[in-house]
C-alpha cells in the first residue's frame, strides 16, 4: 500500500507523513509533544477540550491564479490565521508551517488549562490517577502555578457515582472530554454511557440496566485523562508509583492479550505481594491497548486463600489426604508410575503452558504412555498447517478483505477478537457470520448464514462447491452459500475463525478441515492476514496441539480404559464431567497437579500444588499461533512448583530425562524437537518493535495509561503450508446426521461463567451469568413452559432441574445452557424436557 505523503514543518522540523494524518500525530512522530485531553489516537477527533491549540500557517494562494504566492527568494509566503487551531482535528497540508511552541500557542494552551482547572477539585492526594494523571502532568508542564479562580466558587458534585458494578465516576474530576463515551460508542459499540444536561452541568450517566453493561468498561479508566473513572477492583488500592509491573499474558481465552501485572505488598493479605491490578500492555497485533473486563478483573484466583500450598498424598483405602514433603511426594509418584508399567495416561488442560505440556508429553513418552488434552474441540492440526501467517494483524484487514466467523460467539468467547473483527468490518471488510443462532457479531455482518446445530461443516462444503464444483457437494450448495463463496474467493485476504458451538469433537474436526480446505482452495493460506484461527476455549489449547497433546477423539472415558495410572495437569475432568469421577477413581494411581483441591484432586492419590501463571514464567501460544511469554510477578509460596518443574523432576527421578533448570531450557528442547518452534526461544519472544500510538511512560496523556511493551511482542509461528509445499487439503466426508433429535441441549459460552478462575474475583460477582435454560418461544409453547418457570431436563440417564427463559434468538429444536454454571455439559446432547407444574 503506497500512500500519498505530505511534508510540512513543525517547529522547524521537517516532517513527512501520509495524507490525512492529524497534526498532533505528525508532531508526535517528529518528537514534538502537543498536549491533548479529548484527543486519543484510537478515537475520532472531536476538538472539545481545546488543549492542543497551535498556530498554523498555510502557503498563501493567489485567488485568481490558484497558485502559491512566492516571495523574492522563491519561497512560499506563509499566512497564519487569526486564531489558534486545534491540532487534533486538522489534517496536515503540504507546505504548512505549524508552530507548537510559539509564544502565542503556549499562552493559548496555558489559558485553556487554567479554564479546565477551574472546575477540577485538585484532590490529587486521594485520587487514584495521581501520579499517572495526564492533567496533573500537564498542569506541572504547562499550567499556571496558582489559580486565579476562587476556590469557594468550585462546583461541588457527586464524588462516588457507581456507573455500574465495576466502574465508579467522580463527577468533580471529570473534564468532559468524552473519551469514555466515544470509546464505548466508536470502538466497542456499547453506547451505554452518555452525556446528560448541558453547560457546566454536563455530566456522564449510564443508560443501561445494569449500569455500564459492557465487557470493555475497564478500558475507559485507562484512557480517562483524569481520575474521574476508577475501577471497583483498584479503587484506593495503591498509588501508581508504589506498584511493580511484570509483563504477562492473559490466561482466560485464546486471544492471548498482553498484560502488565501491577503488584504490591499488601497488609490485608498478611504482607504478601499481591496483584493490585491488571493493565493492558500494548501489542498492536494482538490486543492493541485494550483488555476485556474478564482479563482485567478475573485475576484474584491466583492469590486465593484456597490455593494448594503443599503436596498431599493419600495412602490407599484410608482415603485421607496427608501433607508431605516434595521429596516424598515425587518418590510416591515415581513408585506409582512404575507400578503402572506403561499403562499411563497424561491428561492436560489448555491452561498449561507450552513448557508444561512439552514436559508432560516427554514424561508420558518415556513411560510408554501418552498425553491427551481435556477438551472437546478439534482441528489444531489444520491450524498448524493453514493458520494465519507471520505478520498477520487484524487491524490490516479492511476493504477488499473478508472474515468468516463460524460456530462461535466471539463477543462471549474472545471479546478482543470480536472487537477487532468488528472494526475490520467497519473498515470495509466483508464479514460473514455463520452460526445456528444470532450472535452479537451479526450486527456488523455483511452476510449472515444460519444452519442447524451440528452441521456447520456442511455449510462450508456448500461454499466449497462454488469453488471446486465437485458433484458430491451439490446437495450442500444453496443460493446463500454461492453468494458467500463468491465473496470469499474474490477477497484479497481471508481469515476464518471457527469455534465449536454445538459441535462435538468429530463435527468440529470436520469444520476445521473444511475451513482449511476452503481457504486453500480459494488461495488464502500461507501468507500474512490469511488463514485459519481456532476460537479455543483456553489460553493455550493451540500450544497443546503444537506440543503433541490433543484430545482423544472418543473422549476421556475411552482414553482412560485400561489405564493403570493417570497424571492430570491443569485440568479438572471430574469437575467438568461428574461421570468421569468413577473412571478416574478406578485408575490404580491418580496424580493431580493444580492450583485448587478440585473434584479430580479429591479423587487423587497424590495432589501436587502448582504455581499459577503469575508466579512463574512460561509461554502460551494463542489462537493465531503467536507464542508469547509471561513472567513471574509474585514470589510463589515455597510449597508450590511450576508444572514443568514437577514433571521434569519426575522424569529425572525415573531416569527418562535429566531435570531441566528453567522454563527457558524447556523451550530450547521444544525448539530442537519441534520444527514449527525452531525459531522460538526466550530472547526471540522478548523482541520489540516501536508501536503506534505511543502509550504509557512520558506520553501518558496521549494514549492513556496502558503500558508500553518493553517485554516482547512474541513470535508468530509460520504455518506449515508456507514451508511444506506438499501439503494438500481435502474436505471431510460429510457425516450423516443420524436423526434429528427432538431437543438438542447446546452448551454455549458466556464470558462471565462460574469457572474456578472467575468466581474467585468478588468484584465480578454481580456480573456472573445465572444458570438458565434458554428456549425458543414456539418450543416453549409446545412444551407448555412459561418464562422463568422450572423445567426438568433428562439426558444420558441424568436429570437436572433448571429455570427456563424464553428467548426468540434460540433456534427451534434447541435449548441453550451456558457452560460452567452447574450443568456438566461438554457438548450438545439430546434431552427430554418436562416442565414442572408449580
Amino acid at each position: 500500500m503506497s500512500q500519498a505523503l505530505v511534508s510540512l514543518t513543525i517547529d522547524g522540523v521537517e516532517v513527512t507523513v501520509p495524507v490525512g494524518t492529524k497534526i498532533v500525530d505528525a508532531a508526535k512522530q517528529a518528537g514534538i509533544e502537543i498536549p491533548v485531553f479529548c484527543y486519543h489516537p484510537k478515537l475520532e477527533s472531536v476538538g472539545m477540550c481545546r488543549q492542543c491549540l497551535v498556530e498554523i500557517g498555510r502557503p498563501k494562494i493567489d485567488r485568481s491564479t490558484r497558485k502559491i504566492v512566492r516571495d523574492k527568494n522563491g519561497d512560499p509566503v506563509i499566512e497564519f490565521g487569526p486564531k489558534l487551531e486545534t491540532s487534533c482535528t486538522t489534517p496536515v497540508g503540504e507546505g504548512w508551517v505549524v508552530l507548537v511552541n510559539s509564544e502565542r500557542a503556549i499562552e493559548g494552551r496555558r489559558q485553556v488549562i487554567e479554564l479546565i482547572l477551574t472546575s477540577h477539585p485538585l484532590d490529587c492526594p486521594i485520587c487514584d490517577k495521581g501520579g499517572e494523571c495526564p492533567l496533573q502532568n500537564m498542569t506541572m508542564a504547562h499550567g499556571p502555578g496558582k489559580s486565579r479562580f476562587l476556590y469557594e466558587d468550585k462546583m461541588h458534585l457527586a464524588k462516588h457515582v457507581p456507573l455500574g458494578d465495576l466502574i465508579f465516576l467522580d463527577r468533580e474530576r471529570c473534564i468532559q472530554c468524552a473519551r469514555c463515551i466515544r470509546f464505548q460508542t466508536e470502538i466497542v459499540d456499547d453506547p451505554v454511557i452518555a452525556f446528560s444536561e448541558r453547560g457546566r452541568k454536563l455530566e456522564i450517566v449510564t443508560l443501561s440496566e445494569p449500569g455500564f453493561a459492557s465487557y470493555f468498561s475497564g478500558n475507559t479508566t485507562d484512557i480517562c485523562p483524569v481520575g474521574a473513572l476508577t475501577t471497583a477492583d483498584f479503587r484506593f488500592g495503591a498509588r501508581p508509583w508504589e506498584l511493580n509491573a511484570t509483563a504477562s499474558i492473559c490466561p482466560h481465552c485464546a486471544v492471548g492479550c498482553n498484560t502488565m501485572l501491577n503488584t504490591r505488598r499488601e497488609a490485608r493479605s498478611q504482607g504478601r505481594v499481591v496483584i493490585k491490578r491488571v493493565m493492558p500492555r500494548q501489542n498492536e497485533a494482538v490486543n492493541e491497548i485494550w483488555l476485556c473486563d474478564k482479563g482485567r478483573f478475573a485475576h484474584h484466583f491466583a492469590s486465593s486463600e484456597e490455593r494448594l500450598a503443599r503436596p498431599v498424598i493419600k495412602l490407599k483405602r484410608r482415603g485421607r489426604l496427608t501433607a508431605t514433603t516434595w521429596e516424598n511426594a515425587v518418590k510416591f509418584v515415581v513408585e506409582g508410575l512404575q507400578a503402572a508399567h506403561g499403562a499411563v495416561l497424561g491428561i492436560a488442560g489448555g491452561r498449561a503452558s507450552n513448557e508444561d505440556l512439552y514436559a508432560l508429553h516427554r514424561l508420558m513418552d518415556g513411560l510408554g504412555g501418552r498425553a491427551v488434552l481435556h477438551d472437546q474441540m478439534a482441528g489444531g492440526e489444520f491450524v498448524q498447517q493453514a493458520g494465519v501467517g507471520p505478520g498477520t494483524n487484524l487491524a490490516d484487514l479492511g476493504s477488499g478483505d473478508c472474515i468468516l466467523v463460524v460456530a462461535s460467539d466471539l463477543h462471549e468467547e474472545a471479546p478482543i477478537w470480536w472487537l477487532r473483527v468488528k472494526q475490520a468490518a467497519e473498515r470495509g471488510a466483508k464479514l460473514i457470520v455463520a452460526n445456528a443462532r444470532p450472535t452479537r457479531l451479526d450486527a456488523h455482518a455483511t452476510h449472515i448464514l444460519r444452519y442447524d446445530y451440528g452441521v456447520a461443516a456442511h455449510m462450508i462444503l456448500g461454499m466449497l462447491h462454488e469453488i471446486n464444483h465437485q458433484k458430491e457437494l451439490d446437495q450442500y450448495a444453496s443460493a446463500e452459500t454461492k453468494k458467500v463463496a463468491k465473496v470469499v474467493s474474490k477477497a484479497n485476504n481471508v481469515v476464518v475463525f471457527y469455534g465449536s458451538e454445538g459441535l462435538d469433537y468429530a463435527a468440529s474436526h470436520d469444520l476445521a478441515q473444511n475451513c482449511a480446505t476452503l481457504l486453500a482452495a480459494s488461495g488464502h493460506v500461507g501468507r500474512a492476514n490469511n488463514g485459519l484461527v481456532a476460537v479455543w476455549t483456553h489460553s493455550n489449547t493451540q500450544g497443546a496441539w503444537d506440543m503433541g497433546v490433543h484430545p482423544e477423539p472418543g473422549g476421556l472415558a475411552a482414553a482412560l480404559k485400561g489405564q493403570k495410572a493417570a497424571y492430570v495437569v491443569a485440568a479438572d475432568p471430574a469437575g467438568d464431567e461428574p461421570l468421569l469421577t468413577s473412571l478416574l477413581e478406578q485408575v490404580d494411581f491418580l496424580i493431580v497437579q493444580g492450583l485448587f483441591l478440585t473434584e479430580t484432586a479429591l479423587a487423587a492419590d497424590v495432589v501436587l500444588p502448582a504455581q499459577s501463571f503469575v508466579e512463574r514464567d512460561g509461554t502460551y501460544t494463542n489462537g493465531m499461533r503467536r507464542v508469547q511469554r509471561f513472567f513471574p510477578a509474585i514470589a510463589p509460596n515455597e510449597g508450590m512448583r511450576a508444572d514443568w518443574e514437577i514433571l521434569s523432576a519426575v522424569a529425572a527421578a525415573m531416569g527418562i530425562d535429566s531435570a531441566r533448570p528453567s522454563a527457558a531450557a524447556v523451550m530450547q528442547d521444544i525448539a530442537a524437537k519441534n520444527r514449527d518452534y525452531s525459531e522460538v526461544n526466550y530472547p526471540a519472544l522478548s523482541r520489540n518493535a516501536s508501536q503506534w500510538p505511543h502509550v504509557g511512560g512520558k506520553d501518558i496523556y496521549f494514549g492513556g495509561t496502558a503500558h508500553p511493551n518493553h517485554q516482547g511482542l512474541g513470535v508468530q509461528l509460520t504455518p506449515r503450508v508456507e514451508r511444506q509445499k506438499d501439503i494438500s487439503f481435502d474436505w471431510a466426508a460429510p457425516r450423516k446426521i443420524a436423526h434429528k433429535p427432538r431437543y438438542l441441549m447446546v452448551p454455549i459460552t458466556k464470558l462471565y461463567d462460574r469457572g474456578t478462575t472467575v468466581v474467585q474475583s468478588q468484584v465480578l460477582g454481580p456480573r456472573l451469568e445465572i444458570l438458565r435454560l434458554y428456549v425458543n418461544p414456539e418450543d416453549a409453547e409446545r412444551l407448555g413452559m412459561i418464562d422463568e418457570g422450572e423445567v426438568e431436563v433428562q439426558w444420558d440417564g441424568r436429570k437436572q432441574r433448571l429455570r427456563s427463559v424464553i428467548d426468540e434468538h434460540v433456534p427451534s429444536g434447541a435449548v441453550l445452557v451456558p457452560r460452567s454454571l452447574g450443568v456438566p455439559l461438554a457438548t450438545a446432547v439430546d434431552v427430554k424436557i418436562r416442565p414442572i407444574a408449580l
Binding site: 485553556v112 479546565i116 477551574t118 472546575s119 479562580f149 448541558r198 453547560g199 457546566r200
Partner: protein, 418 residues
C-alpha cells in the same frame, strides 16, 4: 418604505390565508422554477442576487447551495426557525403572518438542492406556531403544492416540522442537526460542513427562515432587481428587530445599509422619557456593543460596515440602550444568558462563561475590586478565538467589548471604584 417584500402581510393583511397568497402571485415562483428552470439555474439566480444568510453569519446563500457534492442523495433542506437570539423576533412574524412565502422559499430551495424532504426546525417555545405551520403544510399538500410530481414534473417534496427542546445552541446549524437526529444538542466539528455531511450524514442545506423568505421574490423579479436594493455587497431588504429603550420597538423591513439613526430615530421614534442614547447592541447578545457615537449612528447596517466599526450585523436585532443603563449590569445579564445556554462541549465556553458569571455576581454584590474587572477581562480574552463554535466567542467578545468601551460602568460597581 413603500412596499414590503418580506413582511408582505403589512401590505396585504390576509396573506396568511392560502387563497389570498395564491391570488397575489403565490407559488408562481415555485411553478416557474419547477417547470422552466434547472436546479442549477435557481442556484445561479440566487447567487447573482447576492442574497446572504440572514441568520447571522451572512454567508451567500447561493454559494452555500452550490457546495452540495455532485451525485450524493438523498439531500435535505432544513429551515432554521430556532429563533432564540435575544431581541430577535423577525422569523416569528414572518412565519405567523406571511407563512406561505416562507414555505414557498423552502420549496424552491429544496428544488435547487434536489431534496425530497425539507424540515423546519422550530424552537421549542414556538410549539403553537409549529402546529400552525403543520396545518399550512397540510393545506399545501391538499392543493398539490407539496407531494409527489409537483406541477406535473419529476419533483416531489414534503415538508415536516421538528420542534426543538429549548436550547439556544440548537440555532447553530450543526447543533441543530444533532438535535434533529435525536442527539444531545452540541455543535459538530467543521469541516465537514452540512452541505457535504449534514443531517444523517447526507448533504444538507441549512438556511434561516428570513433567508428562504427572500427566495420567491428573487425568482419572481430577478436577481438584478434584488441586488439593486441595499448596498453593493449586502443586497436586499432585511427585517430589523428593534427593541430596548426606544419609543416604537418592532420589526422594520429596510434595505441593508440603512443607518442606525434612520432606524432608531426615524422609524423607531427615538428614545423615550427624554433620555439620550448610550449604546447599541446591533445583533442581540451576539455582537460587540457599540457606543452610540455620531459615527456609529451614521453607519449603515450592513455586514461590511459593521465589521469595520468592530461589531457585527448578526441577525439584525438592534437593542437600544439609553443612558440610564449600566453596561456592567447589561454585560452580566448577557453573560448569565450565555452561561445558561453553553452546551458544555468545549472547555473555554463551558468553564469560561461560568467563571465570568461568578465574577459578575461578585461585582453585583459589591465584593469585587477593579482587579477583578481586570481578571474578568483576562478570562474573556482567554476564551476568545478558542471555542468550538461561535457561542463562546460571542459571550467573550461581548464582555471584552463592554469592558473596553464602557470600563467606567464596571468601575462604578467595583468595591474600590471611583
Amino acid at each position: 418604505m413603500a412596499e414590503h417584500i418580506l413582511l408582505r402581510h403589512r401590505d396585504i393583511p390576509d396573506i396568511h390565508e392560502l387563497d389570498v397568497y395564491l391570488s397575489n402571485g403565490g407559488f408562481d415562483a415555485l411553478k416557474l422554477v419547477v417547470q422552466k428552470k434547472t436546479p442549477q439555474d435557481v442556484i445561479d439566480i440566487v447567487r447573482e442576487s447576492g442574497l446572504r444568510g440572514r441568520g447571522g453569519a451572512g454567508f451567500p446563500a447561493g454559494v452555500k447551495w452550490g457546495f452540495l457534492p455532485q451525485g450524493v442523495f438523498p439531500r435535505y433542506v432544513v429551515a432554521n426557525a430556532d429563533e432564540s437570539e435575544p431581541g430577535t423576533f423577525k422569523d416569528r412574524e414572518i412565519m405567523e403572518r406571511n407563512p406561505f412565502q416562507f414555505l414557498e422559499g423552502v420549496a424552491i430551495c429544496s428544488y435547487a438542492a434536489q431534496a425530497k424532504l425539507a424540515y423546519i426546525y422550530c424552537r421549542g417555545e414556538f410549539w403553537d406556531l409549529a402546529h400552525e405551520l403543520e396545518s399550512h403544510i397540510a393545506e399545501l399538500r391538499k392543493e398539490k403544492l407539496l407531494g409527489r410530481k409537483l406541477f406535473g414534473k419529476d419533483f416531489s417534496l414534503d415538508i415536516r416540522v421538528h420542534l426543538g427542546a429549548g436550547a439556544y445552541i440548537c440555532g447553530e446549524e450543526t447543533a441543530l442537526l444533532e438535535s434533529m437526529e435525536g442527539k444531545l444538542g452540541q455543535p459538530r466539528l467543521r469541516p465537514p460542513f452540512p452541505a457535504a455531511e449534514g443531517l444523517y450524514g447526507q448533504p444538507t442545506v441549512v438556511n434561516n427562515v428570513e433567508t428562504l423568505t427572500n427566495v420567491p421574490p428573487i425568482i419572481n423579479r430577478g436577481a438584478n432587481w434584488y441586488n439593486s436594493i441595499g448596498t453593493k455587497e449586502s443586497t436586499g431588504p432585511k427585517v430589523f428587530s428593534l427593541s430596548g429603550n426606544v419609543e416604537r420597538p418592532g420589526n422594520y423591513e429596510l434595505p441593508l445599509g440603512t443607518t442606525f439613526r434612520k432606524l432608531i430615530f426615524e422609524h423607531g421614534g427615538g428614545i423615550p422619557n427624554g433620555r439620550s442614547i448610550k449604546a447599541i447592541l446591533p445583533a442581540g447578545a451576539s455582537a460587540p456593543i457599540l457606543p452610540a457615537t455620531k459615527k456609529v449612528l451614521d453607519t449603515g447596517m450592513d455586514y461590511e460596515s459593521l465589521r469595520k466599526i468592530g461589531s457585527d450585523l448578526g441577525s439584525g436585532s438592534v437593542i437600544v440602550v439609553d443612558d440610564s443603563v449600566n453596561i456592567a449590569w447589561l454585560a452580566q445579564k448577557i453573560t448569565s444568558f450565555f452561561k445558561h445556554e453553553s452546551c458544555g462541549k468545549c472547555t473555554p465556553c463551558r468553564e469560561g462563561t461560568y467563571w465570568m458569571s461568578r465574577i459578575f455576581e461578585n461585582l453585583e454584590n459589591g465584593k469585587a475590586t477593579s482587579e477583578d474587572i481586570d481578571l474578568l477581562d483576562s478570562v474573556a480574552q482567554s476564551i476568545v478565538g478558542k471555542c468550538l463554535c461561535a457561542l463562546g466567542d460571542f459571550a467573550a467578545a461581548q464582555v471584552v467589548s463592554d469592558i473596553a468601551r464602557f470600563r467606567s460602568d464596571f468601575d462604578a460597581r467595583a468595591k474600590d471604584g471611583k
